[in-house]
């Protein structure tokens, strides 16, 4: 490598620590690395940013995929990669994103705590509907671009806090997202266990070799149910997390306990599943004779004749071939019934959820050992490490009331243009526009 060339690129290269202040501002930690809340050191941009420091050194396949895909993806409901920093000295990779103050894991946790304390949270009537609509919108965009998420769960659904994208859903953590248009390898070969068990579709648990759009849709159904009831619908104790075998008896048992055991006519191809024999050996249909989604949701005060339930039922169909698509679900009557979904899921109301807290290294350790009730999964992912929230007064929210929909289109457009301009400079301007 030529020394003069190296020197030239070195001089053009921006260092993350020169541009951003983020010391002591860690807000998340997981197998992927750490996330910091950051702001620019210079200029009058006082926006918050999320800086993700990738675990380990160099470019793993998953970070390559993340950079490659996010570089191309542009949608208001998909997290926007603004810039990549490569630190040559320690070989660290940093990704810069817009900062999202909230996520569904924290929001649902807050609701559950409030429910337990018998203090209902005041949220806009259409909030769940707005959340679901935007999740579907983002996934529809990914799916039309032949990108699968594969790891949808509440912790990966971010929601923007105060600012010009207030209350907007951002689908995140696409590190494992992969193309499914003519995969070069059977998808299951690469990383055998990916989706958190609770959100994992039955066909995956029965050994399906390929990920599909329908697998993402199932996960969205699970998230929808969890938003409606504040309980993970297919909650399951998980001890044996290291298994690379997709078949998971307890998780299937849980699904059948809620849904009932699938009838042959409901899912004809179930016989073709690799683990079908194990299923027949391990399970008895009669054990689940009294189980149905109707009964489960009724126990959680969701009536089977409401539009929300009808859509939920279509999202959570056992047969992946019959499961609704993102496109069709966005046309569902649920979304045209009052109250209509809003672009700001908080619909201008005060945001009741606390902001993210900073983690100290001590707290991290404490949290690691305290992490209960969380989806402990195969790779021991720990996205949701800030457990200590939801019970204190750190609610520093402005009271700005915004009109429901007016102006949002314009905002969206501005945002789009902003994305466009950012798109042109992942490292710095000097590489650009030389042609």
């Amino acid at each position: 490598m030529d020394a003069a060339f190296k020197l030239k690129t070195q001089n053009e290269r921006a260092k993350v620590e020169d541009l951003f202040e983020f010391e002591g501002c860690k807000v998340g930690r997981g197998t992927y690395g750490s996330v910091y809340k950051a702001h620019r050191k210079e200029g009058n941009d006082n926006k918050d940013y999320a800086l993700k420091q990738i675990e380990g050194t160099g470019l793993s396949m998953s970070v390559c995929r993340e950079i490659a895909l996010l570089r191309e993806l542009k949608h208001p409901n998909v997290i926007n990669l603004i810039r990549v920093f490569l630190s040559h000295t320690d070989r660290k990779v940093w990704l810069l994103f817009d900062y999202a103050e909230h996520d569904l894991w924290h929001i649902i946790k807050f609701h559950r705590a409030a429910k337990a304390a018998k203090k209902p949270v005041m949220v806009p009537k259409a909030m769940v509907k707005s959340l679901l609509y935007q999740i579907l919108d983002g996934i529809h965009y990914l799916h039309t671009n032949w990108v699968l998420h594969r790891d949808l769960k509440p912790a990966n659904i971010l929601v923007m806090g105060e600012g010009n994208e207030r209350g907007r859903v951002k689908i995140a953590d696409m590190g494992f997202a992969r193309l499914f248009n003519a995969p070069l390898k059977p998808l299951a070969d690469l990383d055998p266990v990916v989706v958190t068990f609770w959100y994992r579709a039955p066909e995956l648990l029965l050994g399906a070799r390929h990920y599909t759009k329908a697998i993402d849709i199932w996960a969205i159904g699970c998230i929808f149910a969890e938003l409606l009831t504040s309980e993970p619908i297919f909650h399951c104790r998980q001890e044996d997390i290291k298994t690379s075998n997709p078949y998971h008896h307890d998780q299937l048992d849980r699904i059948f306990n809620v849904m009932g055991f699938p009838q042959d006519k409901d899912w004809e191809d179930i016989r073709k599943m690799p683990e079908h024999n194990t299923l027949l050996k391990d399970f008895k249909r009669s054990n689940y004779a009294n189980c149905s989604l109707v009964k489960y949701m009724e126990r959680h005060k969701i009536k089977p004749d409401c539009k929300a339930f009808h859509l939920l039922q279509k999202l959570l169909l056992m047969d992946p071939n019959k499961r609704i698509t993102s496109e069709a679900s966005m046309q569902d009557p649920y979304f045209s019934e009052d109250p209509l979904p809003t672009q700001d899921v908080f619909a201008g109301f005060q945001i009741p959820y606390p902001k993210r807290e900073f983690l100290t290294d001590d707290e991290e350790d404490k949290n690691d050992s305290k992490r209960q009730g969380q989806p402990q999964q195969s790779q021991n992912q720990q996205q949701q490490s800030q457990n200590q929230q939801g019970n204190n007064g750190n609610n520093d929210h402005s009271n700005s009331k915004r009109p429901r929909l007016s102006g949002t289109n314009q905002q969206q457009q501005q945002q789009q243009e902003y994305h466009q301009s950012q798109q042109q400079m992942m490292f710095n301007q000097s590489h650009q526009q030389r042609y």
Binding site: A4, C64, R71, E72, R91, T144, L184, Q432
Partner: protein, 269 residues
């Protein structure tokens, strides 16, 4: 990402003008004629192909690696990074992006040593000087110079759609596929969208196989002038290639290309 090509970084950032390409090459053209420059590109495309086949990569991955290679030198002199180092680095990065899996940089450096010894000894008489640490370092520079644009659209998928439209034509498909592989040795992947390249290659294949598809071509909604340019570029390549005795000429050409100077320039104290 098999989504919208027109919104892709490939289209928005990496389809360039011929004049700009030539201008960016001025530094290298001080040492090589345009023809010689093309021969060097042919040689390294071959090198990437052989290296990729060693690791049993699919053609899609090899094509992506080759386009990375071409994009890098579309903006940088051959002097900035030794192409013998950049070539395996492109394979290294492309195999991750295309989900082939991670090839160890060590193994890659090892197969460079073998390939050069066994297949390209006529071009490179020394021992292969690079190790995994060089590939890893080079990868960061490559990613920066590509401006993180890693998804490359290739003409193969458009070709399959075109063939479907024509009707099952196995012979035509196989030949066009090969011509597309060959087109990686020209600049067309930097100058034209992949579906146009597929059509250009198809046209040449039709001529070779004496297939009459004039009406079918006439009905395509595509800029035929561009298609002619692509076809001409590929035909030119074939002519040049025919008269290119790689074994004889390449060592001399590689000698002529400007070399990277690994030590920092000495500054006066």
């Amino acid at each position: 990402m098999a989504g919208n090509f027109w919104k892709s970084s490939h289209y928005q950032q990496w389809i360039v003008d011929k004049q700009d390409l030539v201008r960016e090459r001025q530094e290298d053209l001080k040492y090589l004629t345009e023809e010689e420059y093309t021969k060097v590109q042919i040689f390294f495309a071959n090198f990437i192909q052989v290296l990729g086949e060693q690791h049993k990569l699919r053609q899609q991955v090899i094509a992506t690696a080759t386009v990375y290679f071409k994009r890098f030198y579309a903006r940088n002199s051959l002097k900035s990074i030794d192409p013998f180092l950049l070539a395996p680095t492109c394979i290294f990065l492309a195999s991750k992006v295309e989900e082939f899996g991670v090839i160890s940089a060590n193994r890659l450096a090892g197969s460079c040593t073998n390939v050069i010894k066994n297949k390209f000894g006529y071009a490179y008489s020394q021992d292969y000087p690079y190790h995994s640490k060089h590939i890893l370092e080079c990868e960061f520079y490559l990613l920066e110079n590509l401006d993180c644009c890693l998804i490359v659209y290739q003409p193969y998928r458009p070709l399959l759609l075109l063939i479907q439209d024509i009707g099952q034509e196995e012979q035509l498909q196989t030949l066009t596929w090969r011509i597309i592989n060959d087109s990686l040795r020209t600049d067309v992947s930097l100058l034209y969208p992949p579906h146009q390249i597929a059509i250009g290659a198809l046209q040449i294949a039709c001529v070779i196989l004496q297939k009459e598809l004039k009406h079918w071509f006439a009905e395509l909604n595509v800029d035929m002038e561009k298609i002619q340019e692509i076809a001409r570029a590929i035909v030119n390549l074939f002519e040049l290639w025919k008269g290119f005795d790689e074994k004889k000429e390449i060592a001399g050409l590689l000698d002529k290309i400007p070399k990277a100077k690994p030590n920092p320039p000495v500054t006066a104290r």
